[in-house]
Symmetry: C2
Subunit: 257 residues, 2 copies
């Protein structure tokens, strides 16, 4: 299956293209989301640095979107998607270090997730039409400074805990037409498996998420919906590395420094 | 005092410039935040349509940032700014209608606020340096679908309640060097005064907000920090108009339809 990537080449040029099964990048030009044009140029993936595969204006990130997690934390399954926004400045590519904020010495956790990449501007979309607005799927590691969440008893600080630079890990690529129904999210910490949950356990499917959220705000090309995580969230020690993989998409690999 | 505005001219051209005391726009070119250049052209403000004075990538919006409001709701003054993000797509200019979401029949409230417009990329800024990153000040009406806030008892939906298109009213202009210490926010609903509170009652000053928030996320030119509201928040009936004014900046005027 072909996938879209963004890269920085050895001559410091930022570009994007289609990655094939032979690890060759078929360079494209113009707009990834609107009739990208092949330039004919081919690069080897080993010769470039991967960037985040898109540059979202916002990441809409879900809480409590898996039945198994809801059961474990003893909360009812929500009737409407529950979300917060991670800013564009939080975006981080694979193989880039996650940076501990200077102002925070507490526990930092990984959350492996499926990401939906929006392909077309959308508002008030019916569930039956939602798939037309999905460009493809990517992996997300929704990094969280978890001790900030309930630091103030009167206001859960979802935005603050999750908005630091490098806390929105996306990539390595975007796979159009990815069949999430049969896939699992597998997160390993220093090589030890910590999360392995089926995406079929989602409360709101990607199509339902796009429809619901598009009724709450306009989604733009490149925006990402992070579908929420499930069981196995845990903390990352400084110096440890975390890998979030979805078979059929690829893997994110990042170290916390 | 001169102020920056953005406009759409009669020939449908989008531009920006400095507004003088005679309601003349001194048109500028290039980047408002980085050495804007006067073109020499002068327009009359009556001949253009005002747009939002900037196009923030994000609006970072405060909760519980006034002593009087904290006392009224019986909550302690926070130790760190408490905030959520309103997306770029929520931005609305003065004299544009606020649109009731199709999916929501409940109460919609106004919240008159001071807005800080960021002028330079900033991260980890000391309070003493924060003023260098403030381009100027504007008025904000932080519109809220208030019944969504606590619709789910397990997750306060700040983002959802405040992110609908047209719910981030900004403008009418940006005033560099504005002295907020002596100013008040005055909100009128159908001509009747509903809010009139002094900005000197803020818990975290603009400089403190920029410093604290820049330690939580990178702020970019054009980003807006909405400083939070104080006493007198109330609902807007469909068809009613709301005006948020700060003397020395100007007034936002919008109708809910």
């Amino acid at each position: 299956m072909k996938s879209w990537i963004r890269y920085r080449s050895s001559n410091n040029r930022v570009g994007f293209g289609l990655l094939d099964e032979l690890d060759q990048i078929h360079v494209h030009d113009a707009d990834m989301f609107d009739t990208p044009i092949s330039t004919g140029e081919i690069l080897k993936v080993g010769d470039v640095v991967l960037l985040s595969p898109c540059q979202p204006g916002k990441i809409v990130a879900l809480w409590n979107n898996f039945h198994a997690l809801a059961a474990k934390i003893g909360k009812p399954v929500p009737l409407h998607p529950l979300f917060f926004i991670k800013p564009s400045t939080s975006v981080c590519a694979t193989h880039v270090n996650i940076k501990r904020p200077k102002s925070y010495g507490g526990k930092i956790v990984y959350e492996g997730e499926l990401g939906i990449v929006i392909g077309k501007r959308c508002s008030d979309v019916d569930p039956g039409d939602a798939s037309h607005y999905i460009f493809g799927y990517t992996c997300v590691n929704d990094i969280t400074a978890v001790e900030l969440l309930n630091e103030d008893l009167n206001f859960a600080q979802w935005t603050r805990a999750k908005s630091f630079d490098t806390f929105g890990v996306l990539g390595p690529c975007i796979v159009p037409g990815f069949d999430w129904r049969a896939a699992s999210v597998v997160t390993t910490l220093d090589g030890v498996e910590r999360q392995n949950y089926p995406l079929s356990d989602m409360v709101f499917t990607p199509e339902q998420l796009v429809s619901h959220i598009s009724r709450d705000m306009t989604l733009l090309p490149g925006d990402v919906i992070a579908c929420g995580t499930s069981l196995g969230v845990g903390s990352i020690k400084d110096g440890s590395s975390v890998r979030v993989a979805i078979e059929g998409i690829g893997a994110l690999f990042n170290r916390l420094i």
